[in-house]
Amino acid sequence: MTAVLALLACVGGLAAVGATRRHPRAAPWTALAVTAAVLALLVPAVRGGAVFDAAWIPGWGARLTFEADALGGLLALLAAGIGAVVVGYARPYMAEHLREHGRPLREQVRFFLLLVLFLASMVGLALARDLILLFLFFDLSAICSYFLIGFDREEAEARRGALMALLVTGGGSLLLLVAILVWGALGGSYDVAVLADVGLSGTAHEWAAWLAVVAALMKSAQVPFHIWLPRAMVAPTPVSAYLHSAAMVAAGVFLLLRLEPLLGGTTAMAALPWLGLASVLTGSVLALGADRLKRLLAYSTVAQYGYIVLLIGLGGPAGLAGAAVYLLAHAIAKSALFLTAGAVTRATGRERLSALGGLGRRMPVLAAAAAVVAATLAGLPPTVGYFKDEALLEAALGRGPAFGVLVAAAVGLTLAYIARFWIGTFLGAPHEETASGEGGAAAAAGEPAGASPGLVAPVVLLAAAAVVGGAWPHGISRIGSEAGSAAARETLAFELAYEAGPPLYLALGAWAFGAAVYALRRRWMPLVEALHRAGSALGPEALYEAALRGLDRLSTRAHRLEVRDLRDRIAAILLPAGLLVAIAFAAVAEASPWVIGPVTLEHLPLLLALGVLALVGLTVLRRRTHLGLVLGLTAAGFTLAAVYALVGAPELALVSVLVETTITVLLLRGFRAVPERDLRREAVREGGVGVQRRRDRLAGLVAGGLAFVVAWPALSSPVEPTIADVYREHAHLVHAESVVSAILADFRALDTLGESTVLAAALLGMAMLLGRGWRRSAPTGRSGPEGGRGPGPTDATRVVSGFVLAVSLVVALALLVKGHAATGAGFSAGLLAGTGIIVHHLAHGGERGKTLAVLSRAMPVAGAGLLLALAPLLLPPLAGLPPLAHLPAPGSEAPALGHLSLHSGFVVETGVFLLVLGFVVAALDLLSRAAAWSEEELP
């Protein structure tokens, strides 16, 4: 159907405008063509009123349902029609605007792109019948307006205005989303038509109605959310004209109309007239006192949409049809008025009423056209504006005569402020003094600054439309009643005409009142100004500012606290962890087993070892010097190894001893990078801080307690049997006598490979930290043993170290070869060989040149080891076998080299051996080099 084609035309239009990136002059023309095309496609679509429906997101139950009914059609046509006028106006305007701001013309491509996107979002919103779809366009329009309001982003005012608009309207959309989802859950569909038939009721429905209403009021800039709209006038004038008439602000009241069948009968709907009236009065009074043209118009928009909200709230034929008519008439009038203001400011460089006047002579055409549209806003015949007030007063009278008079008084205020606008601009004595700002140059040059025709023509066009509408009551009535019927989803009869009746009498009274108000303006102006001041001191705008400031301050304070006391503290993790475990403990302490376990004489050695271990662990805390610290750690490690030996885990014991030794060597090596004085100073400081120390002890206690509370009940609830038995049964299949080796090299080789890769990654990380390109870039300008820290090696050490190296290499080889069968494995062997090389290296004073070649090749050796170890993982899949398949096949005879049986597990072990060997040597080498350059670099 063609309505969807119109939407697609918008999307295509985006691409077309985007394509003008290199020819920015073509951008406005392209945009104009797009809006014209959209308009052309929309007209038949609205006539047809067809429905387009397609599957979209079954997971949410959302569908691509579009319907070009009279209501949606009205908004879509308005958006496209006014859009076309605005684009036409923007063509000369933006070029000048960018030139004045010293920005390149190509930026206008972005502007027109956003304008077309804005149009697309409004057309989509107008046509969408699915609420999720509708929400999409609703949000999209907020985003478009954000970027357009902030178009002059180098100006702080523009940035603040844009952010405020986004916060209010974007935040409001969240409420709408909730409402939509609630309705979807209640009614089982997101289709407005379906939901309208379901007949929703209940508390949830009431809540949803309120949320949707608030969202709509935020969008339509109604009190107290109106504050964003005056701020939004910092946007370039075409944007303001569009935003205030057919886009953005109109979306809010359109939403109310669209949702009318759902909202009808709710308390939110019942409150609408009063909410609308509040905006009417606030907006009108503020507009009466405003001095800047655009600000006056912005406040007027608040008031005018207040009338529409009022009308929707009153409901009935007059209310709903009247709302549609009001939307139409106001869109024409307000866009034209903004364009007028822009043309005036462009020509004179002034934007304040107090600095303007007497322009009627210089720009008679503009003045005349502006008079027509001002009359339209004020509801004077024979413009289309008359009908909007006729409908309004008729609907108000439906509420009762008193209400009618109240509304009529408000209508009078419209006349008063718009008279101020027009008379103040075009009549009276011209102001001669030169103003600065936009167009100031032209005024200063003394040229007879008339308004440029390109800027006047659109206003004339809109004024003509207003007059045509005024001459065509039947057509306007039909538009209104059809749109109203579409909103209510039932047929409403409504007729407008120039005829005598209560609405006309009220209108006459209103105009008289308005004229009187205008005439007496000097009397009440101080009062309005006082109200203005009170409003800005205590009103919602002040609240908004205070809220943002308060949030920022709170945020800063919390952040300061975090940085000062928490950020670098491990305790900040341990204490919450302790708290959580304490909560869990409190909940399940009674349900947990707390078994002390058997204690017999046989356990005595183990108990003793554990006792020693605990003591050693505690004494580490008391070590002041770094050397003592490392020795304490080593002692703990060796005691741990003893414990492992006692519980029958000899392989663990062996590995523990080797690892502890290597860590000790690495740590000691690391210390050498730091001069003794720095180490000592740190040790002294560490001992000195009393409060901190006590706090650390406390956190440490918490950590220990936490570990205890989790460990004890877990250890108290063992199960039998475990899967260890399964491994014992399977071990013979993989050519291994030791179950542990079978697990490491075969069954759970994935763990082993992962662990090896951890080492490789650690090595890469160390190289990244300390490497400076780890191949062959030894520190320069250094010779001799280790910068003279400590005495050089003696001959005896050299000789002994040679022996040690030889022995360790032999033992390592033995471990590797025999390991897979019995105790030990590639890891132990690699550690041993690596440590042997290190010792040898250290004994020779750490001179790189003189040590073994393996030192400079350590990284490649490690890498080769990793690749070798990974081979059993990576290669079998190439042959169609599962990764880590044991080769030769489990249970079959493996080829042997003496006692050494060759199979995939052995490949893993050998790879690990090489990797660990390379790791240890390379790590030490890196640390040594770091020690060397720390000496060079630091004072």
């Binding site: 058997p598 006692l646 029958g648 210390f671 990078a673 250890l715 770091a930």
Partner: protein, 131 residues
């Protein structure tokens, strides 16, 4: 026996944690190793059947749970890798800022950051919202 194991694990972990809380980067690394050792001990303890746990010297008596031994070996290797990398981090921090004290390090970096901030010029901290 169970209680003794749990208590030892707790003491070791507590000690490691306490060391990690200090400001001295080397002590922190040491603490990390100690805490990791504690959890390895816990892993081994988790494989001890309460009935068979007892004196098993290095000679060929049946092993404790072989699976747990394998897991503990893996865990030890990982600890080893982590400790090495941590050490490299600490050394790098020293060669850059000349301190092994966490607070001094934070201080030095903050000073550096301030320099950078001033270089970026005023207005970088301007608030966007509010007026």
């Amino acid at each position: 026996m169970i209680l003794a194991l749990a208590a030892t694990v707790a003491v070791l972990f507590g000690a490691g944690a306490t060391l990690m809380l200090s400001r001295d980067l080397f002590r922190m690394v040491t603490g990390a190793v100690l805490a990791s050792n504690a959890v390895t001990l816990f892993l081994v303890a988790a494989g001890l059947s309460p009935l068979t746990a007892g004196l098993r010297p290095l000679t060929g008596a049946p092993e404790t749970d072989p699976l747990v031994q394998a897991l503990a070996l893996t865990a030890i290797v990982i600890t080893f890798g982590v400790a090495s990398l941590l050490l490299a981090l600490v050394i790098r921090a020293y060669t850059r800022h000349g301190t092994i004290d966490l607070d001094d390090l934070a201080e030095a970096e903050r000073a550096e950051e301030l320099d950078a901030g001033e270089a970026a010029g005023p207005g970088t901290t301007e608030r966007e919202a509010g007026g």
